[in-house]
Symmetry: C2
Subunit: 287 residues, 2 copies
């Protein structure tokens, strides 16, 4: 990412948070704010400041695709333990862009029809069109996370899926979609506090499900499953980023920075007119 306006990023989050060889999830401290030399108030101000830039780049991305059906798109994949803040990313980072350029899909528990197909069937239908920013709130990675932890499929099938995912994502990137995969990483203690808050506040009761505690009790196994996902599917073309997320403001700022980095790298340009501008001005003036 080009560091602009503010110099509070001391390192490129696209490098710093990227899952490379030897990455260990267990070594990530969810309380930290890597690469950012500022506190909450700065982070919130910088998030607002980044909004206009994101909106501008998004409009260019969309405009470019109106003339070129092979123009790029972006796919942001969000995965996390419950209450880690996926919804906040969608609301505060994605929500600050133009909804006309967003394709948001929240993947729920698969339906019987979906289960009657390969796990990528329902995902394929939701990949973003040229010019759009697609956002997956949960994704095909559920099938190798809860899928592995809850043994919803035999080990050989889970194993097969890593390869299928890499093939799928390679095809996506080769056909012009930039894939950005983000795990929001909170600590187990932070999750406990957030779930307790949901139980404490009647206006949050609807967000709580007794199953949340059941999943929580499998925390170490989920962390192992995430580690395996990173080992097997963080590729050059479709890398994973692990974003410490105990500080919500940091997680939002970091995901915005990752998106800005990808969009600046695409550097979408306003398309030039395919009609005669002067002639059209005369036609219009005559009406």
């Amino acid at each position: 990412m080009t560091v602009t306006r503010e110099d509070r990023w001391t390192a490129d989050p696209g490098e710093l948070l990227r899952v490379g060889p030897g990455f260990r999830l267990a070594d990530v401290d969810a309380d930290t704010t890597p690469g950012y030399d500022g506190r909450k108030k700065h982070g919130r101000a910088d998030l607002r400041a980044g909004t206009d830039e994101l909106a501008d780049l998004q409009e260019r991305l969309y405009a470019q695709s109106r003339q070129d059906p092979a123009a790029p798109s972006v796919l942001l994949v969000l995965q996390a333990m419950d209450s880690a803040g996926k919804g906040g990313i969608v609301r505060h980072v994605i929500g600050a862009t133009d909804p006309q350029g967003i394709q948001l899909k929240a993947f729920k528990k698969p339906t019987p029809e979906e289960l009657g197909h390969d796990f990528l069937w329902r995902v394929e239908k939701e990949v973003p069109e040229a010019g759009y920013i697609g956002v997956f709130d949960r994704s095909h990675y559920e099938d190798v996370l809860i899928g592995a932890v809850r043994e919803l499929a035999p080990p050989a099938e889970i194993e097969r899926r890593y390869g299928a995912i890499n093939d799928f994502e390679r095809r996506l990137t080769e056909s012009g979609t930039r894939v950005v995969k983000v795990m929001l990483h909170i600590s187990s203690e932070e999750q406990k506090a957030r779930l307790m808050e949901r139980l404490d506040r009647p206006d949050k009761h609807w967000k709580y499900n007794p199953g949340d505690v059941d999943e929580r009790q499998l925390w170490p196994r989920y962390m192992e499953a995430f580690q395996t996902v990173f080992d097997r599917t963080s590729t050059e073309r479709a890398p994973w980023y692990v974003v410490p997320a105990n500080a919500k403001w940091y997680a939002r700022l970091a995901v915005q920075a990752l998106l800005l980095g990808v969009l600046e790298d695409i550097d979408p340009q306003w398309p030039t007119a395919t009609y005669d501008v002067a002639a059209e001005k005369r036609r219009l003036a005559a009406t």
Copy 2:
């Protein structure tokens, strides 16, 4: 609408802008700001102030539906002549809400597959799920607007469609969807200025299409087609609202007020917990 916070609305826009018996589109002055006693700066401030209320009501609407699959939804239908500001409504009114609660659909020129079905086939697939605010940027009304003006279907077929639309919308409302239909009304002179601006600015060239001038030359026929639409399809349950839109700030504020009015009328409530809150607190505390 309950007039809150600001008293600049001197009349309920839900009454004032509603298309009732005897309504004449030709009598509406697109330059006016009916019912609002303020200028641009006030309108923009009030729009911002309404954002939090809209977001709160939207979250309640969504929360309610998580326990009740028959909970209400809202459908906002946007129709207008080109450049009237549909995109701005989506960006500035809808864009200020949580994207997770929005189902936005921009209807384009029908595909061959869509033309092989009844005109409502593609529309049915996009109606909002319980708890969502659906937004149609163009809609089934294209089939009785451009459909009539460009004679894309014989008169008897156009005639049939008014009845089919009323049946369809009655079914929607009876199954819990509140339907709000908005025409953004600009003057022909205002459109000319806006199209000319697109031709003057290279970063807007992609938004201009030579066909826009062709449609513009049929302005009086489009106004007649809109009048017929109002006469035939502004019903008690699914009314039309004509919003003067030469002042963009007013159109945005008015559409926000219409949505707030409908949501306040639904008055969605936080659902009560279906689990034992105290027991869950103990379970969670023990983890």
